[in-house]
Amino acid sequence: MINHIDLSTVLRRTVCDLYSDLVTRPTGAAVRDGIEKQLSELGDRSLTVIDFSHVGLLDYSCADEIVAKLLMRYADANAPRDAYFLFRGVSDSHLDAIETVLERHGLAIVAQAEDGTVVLVGTVDDPERRAWEAMLRLGRAMAVDLAREAEIEPEQVERVLGALCRRRLAMELDGGYVVVGAVT
């Protein structure tokens, strides 16, 4: 199931209906709580579009509270549910804050551009990037095909694909693997 969360709506509902900027840690924490409440109403497995389109400013503190902490919680082995995220409507200035916090924590996200293409943002090692890009080219694919396409040793590919799924950048689907965002 694909869920859509408009961050400006969450901001207005959880913090103040006059705000359009995502600034300060308390604001970020409140918005993340709002997101998590929505996630708790979904099934065990979900893909959620986190939409920044109507957000004015995003500062580092808020990016850390919303993006980094959300990812860390759901990339953890004890995550409350199997949730994946696609970040949409991310402007250059949002990206500045998001990239900074992702690098700080060694995290990455999948962001969707206006034309629908998806890109990786953040910290990703070379095999992970090759596997992810191969997955994007092939669509849903089996590990053996991805190993060939990404030129990764077959004995390595399961580990790389496991890491991509754990990091919420790809998901297992019907026995294959697919890039987060390719299924919207």
């Binding site: 103040c16 705000y19 900027d21 600034v23 300060t24 840690r25 308390p26 604001t27 004015g56 400013l57 995003l58 500062d59 580092y60 503190s61 850390d64 509270e65 980094a68 902490k69 402007s91 250059d92 200035s93 500045d96 804050a97 900074t100 916090v101 700080r104 924590h105």
Partner: protein, 295 residues
């Protein structure tokens, strides 16, 4: 007994040190009178630091406003007197704001104590700063968001660490003497606990033998250390550093008896000053110069 301290003709980050030097030996409960009659100019730092001085005194201090109508008018435009009237016993001429083409107040002196204040500041600065940064300082339109982010993080430093409210002000002016260019200056001052005490409050933190205000500033400003154990903390000042690096700006932070600066090539400041007269809290100044473009 009242101690009279003359404010310098030009009240800025550097000359304010002379004020603090005179202030340091005066007991907190002793009356001071800050005489600004001959002050002709004040930076946002000078004005916000003056308000901060008043917050540190147990006995309400007195302030004599500038004699110069032009100076007084500018101080009025910054909103200084509105706050000063609550914190000082005011003397001298009452000034009203008049329009001026030489300096633009991008953000009046604004109290910052809580998260909501940061939202207010950020909202106001975005409306006003975009055209000035682009047209007058030749800064890329995209950078105006970064400017607001920088302001947000600087203000949050008060909310998260100071333990009491502080002040923020933003202004553009022509910095003739040093640069011959326009600059935009953010000043953020508080009289809170300061960097050293804030870091000392971190649970389980071990202090080195050379633990002082200078080292606390190095830890927080250069290495991004925070009193919180959360590894995501400390990114605000790192973000400020990155922004000023990108736009050839300058950052200086004073806390306690030390002052640290990220110094661009156009300035001759020293990276770290220690053994300054003690002053509570933290005082930060961010300066972004006009960008020189090939025309």
């Amino acid at each position: 007994m009242t101690t009279v301290i003359n404010l310098p003709p030009s009240l800025d980050e550097r000359t304010f040190e002379a004020v603090l030097e005179h202030l340091a030996p005066v007991p907190l409960d002793e009356k001071v009178l800050l005489d600004g009659r001959h002050t002709r100019w004040a930076s946002p730092y000078g004005l916000t630091a003056l308000l901060t001085v008043a917050q540190t005194r147990a006995e309400k201090p007195a302030l004599v406003s500038p004699e110069s109508e032009e100076t007084g008018s500018y101080w009025a435009r910054t909103g200084f007197f509105k706050h000063a009237e609550e914190l000082f016993e005011m003397h001298g001429t009452t000034h009203r704001a008049r329009a001026s083409g030489e300096s633009d107040v991008l953000l009046e002196i604004t109290p910052v104590a809580k998260s909501e204040d940061v939202h207010e500041v950020v909202g106001r600065i975005q409306q006003k700063s975009a055209s000035i940064l682009v047209k007058e300082l030749n800064i890329d339109a995209k950078a105006t968001m970064g400017f607001a982010m920088t302001l947000s993080e600087a203000c949050q430093n008060i909310v998260e660490h100071a333990g009491r409210g502080g002040w923020v002000a933003v202004q553009t002016y022509r910095w003739q003497k040093r640069l011959g260019r326009r600059v935009v200056v953010i000043a953020v001052c508080d009289a809170g606990v300061g960097f050293r005490q804030s870091l000392e409050s971190a649970q389980g933190r071990r202090m080195s033998d050379r633990w002082d205000d200078g080292m606390a500033l190095e830890e927080a400003v250069i290495r991004g250390v925070s009193r919180f154990r959360d590894p995501g903390r400390g990114q605000g000042l790192a973000g400020v550093r990155r922004y000023i690096g990108r736009w050839d700006g300058k950052l200086s932070v004073r806390s306690g008896t030390a002052r640290i600066a990220i110094v661009p090539s156009w300035d001759e400041d020293v990276p770290l000053e220690e053994k300054l007269p003690p002053f509570p809290g933290a005082q930060m100044q961010i300066t972004i110069p006009e960008r020189i473009t090939d025309r």
